[in-house]
Amino acid sequence: MKNEILEQIPALRAYSRVLCRRVPDAEDLVQETLLRAIEYADSFRPGTNLRAWLFTIMRNRFYTNCRKSAREQTGGTDCVSEQSRAQAGQEWHMQACEMHAALRDLPPHYREAILLVGALGESYLEAARILNCDIGTIKSRVNRARQMLRKVLEPEF
């Protein structure tokens, strides 16, 4: 089980950086998510999607923190300008940089949808559960995000 949880860390990091934008805040959120999951371990049903459960906890934690601190968690500088403050070893491949910058410019709900569905391979159904909306809304957001990303990444398209 420990290895199964460790295998989710990269995905949790990716999602946290979509939410938090700054890498140090994102790392804190990953730790908070695991702490929260320990607290609510009884709510997990064995055999169900562990990653989706952790994503839901992370998202709830993030928005709870936003409400508590009453400051904008999304928006602000893009990842390119944060590069110099990134921790050692977190150098981004050029195309990943472009993708990250393009993700930054998406509206938050599009950003979450495309990451969960496009990058992390969650189904529409699971993404809808994590984001607490219906499947039609997820499909619409993914489609819209996809169009916006393709315009940025493939300008000749």
Partner: protein
Amino acid sequence: MSHLMQKNIEIPELGPELEKALSELIEQTGREPISARLRELAACLAAALERPEA
């Protein structure tokens, strides 16, 4: 992913270029080291999840 397809759970196709770019983003986080603190938390969570119900 095959178990999801067996259940006919819809997973959208995004196009090869977009999928490749997103995959690289995820691969990047996969290459980053996992701290001792995260490993400790993962072990605690595993223990909590494996704990038999009272």
